[in-house]
């Protein structure tokens, strides 16, 4: 204090300030500090209470009002923890696992699922691999009964490895168990998400995550209205092309018939077999543009081999666990819905029925997948087995020829995108 005051005396201050300073006693500084503490303490309590009541992540359930907080925003952080907490609360007997293609495209609130008496939860997470799915499922099993049915989306690109790649150790420094709870209650993100929740109630096409974990990409409707589907397809296709050209053309680590992804899949299948969970592995129905880019990048033979590996792993788990029920479904190809026409550049009126863009299908297509898995005898999707792999390959080749004939632009565009991505690749 003396030091400050000593320098106060040396400081030139506005007229009258000296008298004010002299009158100012320790009491005013003490009062200032107390006020600060009250503002911080009171403000923190109020903000935490606001977040808890608005409940942007479906964690508390104090209030559910269509004018206040019924529609929730898509969380940007702690999605794994939030989904696990929600799934634990829902106690699903059908779980959906995979990456963004499942998270976006498969609707756990589908009437067909409830029609079959299923309570589903979409545990898929965008931008993640099977390692995350396996971790999430293991955590869920500690708090809830094993699911009777699991639909697992498997991503071809995630299985591509360099032959000399070393195993990547699992990350060990995740958030502390209490940290995510604290941050989802008291952080700038949780407060802004609570405010966003209130605003979302009046939004026409909100970016949202449902209570059952689906991210239906309704916000893409807004982009489509503003820029047209062509822009969305083209922008994503550019990103996909860059990703695809960087990928190796190989499934196995040198000297083995496995890879970290295959190991993860095997572990997940074994766990589910032990739990007597019926498993449906889903090869995604990529749009023809994406398939054509795989082809253009020379990945089609690797994709065929990958399907053979999936079938091999399904057979193996049935061998290890005779009661295991594992199916491999191939929804990839070029026919019908997957060869959906991309609206023309500048066309902001035409909408697509099946795809948001080449990598992500809409719930309408997801319904067809669920329909097939639940037992409907529709022509969409093939249940793969060792003895029909070659026939399936011929089917895809025939569909490709047909789609290329009807819609050559998509193949020309794929050629250009891959060439451009290769040219800009370091």
């Amino acid at each position: 204090m003396e030091q400050i005051e000593r320098y106060d005396d040396e400081v030139i201050v506005p007229a009258g300030a000296h008298a004010a300073n002299a009158a100012r006693s320790q009491v005013s500084y003490q009062r200032f500090t107390a006020w600060c503490a009250a503002v911080v303490g009171g403000g923190a309590l109020l903000l935490a209470a606001f977040v808890a009541i608005i409940d942007p992540y479906h964690l508390y359930g104090f209030v559910d009002s269509t004018s206040l907080n019924h529609v929730k925003p898509l969380p940007e952080q702690y999605r794994e923890q939030i989904k696990l907490a929600q799934a634990t609360a829902v106690r699903p007997d059908l779980i959906l696992l995979g990456n963004s293609r499942v998270e976006v495209g498969l609707d756990p609130d589908s009437p067909q699922l409830s029609g079959h008496g299923r309570t589903a939860y979409n545990m898929a997470l965008a931008g993640t691999t099977l390692a995350v799915n396996e971790r999430m499922y293991a955590k869920l099993r500690t708090d809830a009964a094993p699911a009777a049915l699991a639909v697992i989306g498997v991503e071809f690109l995630d299985f591509l490895v360099k032959p000399d790649s070393a195993p990547v150790p699992a990350p060990t420094n995740g958030p502390l168990p209490w940290q995510w709870r604290f941050d989802t209650l008291f952080s700038i993100k949780s407060v802004s998400d609570a405010l966003r929740t209130v605003r979302l109630q009046k939004a026409a096409d909100p970016e949202t995550m449902t209570q059952r974990g689906q991210t239906p990409l309704r916000d893409y409707n807004r982009y489509a209205r503003a820029e047209g589907y062509y822009s969305i397809f083209q922008q994503k296709a550019g990103e996909n092309a860059k990703n695809i050209v960087r990928k190796p053309h190989n499934l196995f680590v040198a000297g083995t018939d496995g890879s970290p992804s295959i190991d993860r899949l095997r572990a997940l299948l074994d766990t589910m077999a032990r739990d007597r969970t019926e498993v449906h592995l889903v090869i995604y129905p990529y749009h023809a543009q994406m398939m054509a880019m795989f082809d253009e990048a020379g990945l089609q033979p690797t994709m065929d081999e990958w399907k053979r590996v999936l079938v091999r792993e399904a057979d193996a788990v049935r061998g290890r666990y005779p009661g295991a029920r594992v199916s491999v479904w191939d929804f990839s190809g070029y026919a019908t819905m997957r060869c959906e026409r991309i609206p023309a550049p500048g066309d902001t009126r035409t909408t697509t029925q099946w795809y948001w863009e080449a990598g992500h299908f809409k719930s309408a297509l997801g319904e067809r997948i669920l329909q097939r898995i639940l037992g409907d005898d529709t022509p969409f999707g093939v249940r793969l087995a060792a003895d029909n792999l070659d026939a399936n390959r011929r089917r895809i080749a025939a569909e490709r020829a047909q789609c290329a004939g009807a819609y050559p632009q998509v193949f020309g565009g794929a050629h250009d995108l891959i060439a451009s991505a290769r040219a800009s690749s370091p």
């Binding site: 003396e2 030091q3 400050i4 400081v11 500084y29 500090t33 600060c36 503002v39 952080s187």
Partner: protein, 510 residues
Amino acid sequence: MLFNSFTFLFLFLPITAIGYFLLARRSHVRAAGWLALASLTFYGWWSYFYIPLLAGSIVFNYWMGQRIGQAAGPARKRWLTAAVVIDLGLLAYYKYADFFISGVNWLAAADIPALHVVLPIGISFFTFTQIAYLVDTYQGKVKEARFLHYVLFITYFPHLIAGPVLHHAEMMPQFDKPASYRFSYQNLAVGLSIFAIGLAKKVLIADNLAPHANFLFDKSDMLSFASAWGGVLAYAFQLYFDFSGYSDMAIGISLLFGIRLPLNFDSPYKAANIIDFWRRWHMTLSRFLRDYLYVPLGGNRKGPVRRYVNLMLTMLLGGLWHGAGLNFVVWGALHGVYLAINHGWNAVADTLRLPRGRVWGVFSMALTFMAVCVAWVFFRATSFDKATTILHGMAGMDGIGLPASIGLQLGPLKGLLEQWGVSFYLGGGSRFMETWQWVVIGGCIAFFLPNTQQIMGRYETALGTMAGPRLAARWQLWQPSRRWSLYIGAILIGSLLSLSRPAEFLYFQF
């Protein structure tokens, strides 16, 4: 432990402060010892592995300081030379061993394996502080010699990790003052307010700019004019608010203990020229380089040519101090060239008696800021090639592109822009908008608002002279009023809300 963490704010700082003032009632020695112990704990929180290195460095330099002080004649210089060489040798080993090896490999086409030496955090700061102490001892400026105070002077946690670089003469008397050991609500209120402003600069501004700067330098391949400038400005303001926020926090925390640290920032982007910039940016490092490098090299005493050579050498070594890499050397060289041009221009302008009005002042400030931003590109880029690619973009040589989503909002103006050569690319609209929003916010605060010292202008809360005006406008001056408690409380809440994403300070890596 980071200043911007719950552990520091709600555990370390209260325990340290309460323990300090309780012990100080009985014994100032115990209180100083407690503060030194707390500082070592603070340092060891990152890695206890390097505590022996820090302790060894302290004991070695204190002992060498005693030898220098007691020696006479040429022996004094020999002791000083030996100590500085050993200090710099240690710093060189930790900081430059791999840089040296890669240089030898490149020159001799050799294949000497890198040592992958991990840089102990804060080593640059505690080494420089101690070199200054040794030189001051040699020059007979050191009066206080108590070992405990010396330990506290080096380890004192508010400055240990990222500065400011301290002078023995300005700190030791403070550790000896009885007033430093008495709790004061005034120190608490003023220190807390400065700390809150610094914390807000870091977590509310710098950390929000960081992703946009990182995107340009680490991920983007879209380097059109606006996106390249957006990313570079984001970095320029990120670094500014990160470092000045840290410096404010250090000053504020130190004030809680009744100790004033030297001023390290004085609105450097408001500088009218590059000479002025270096009087305002990282002031304690500039002071160190001036007093212990530029002046011993001869400064401006040996003619204009040697002055420019000395400037260049000082800035090159200043650049190399920031990091062992070619980019830091280029950054230092650029500033050396800027300073030489500035001195040359001043001479010409004085000779011709050129008018320097208000418009000229604004132009000078803008030119200085642009020059600083160009140099920041080398400072931040991960490679020389990346830096030149970004500079290409900033020069408009990769075209003037804007996101298509922005073009849609422009209506008929879009067509006009296209005629002028502006292209519109898909994607990146949100990133572009957010980047520029934060750049504008950062720019407005940096250019148009008073700095922390000006806001606290009624109190001399830091050591050193400001280059700019000392006081803000009357309504912007802090006082212990209810209005200011609401402001400070509000920015504290905002900052606390942002602590869930702790990000390390940029200067920790130097």
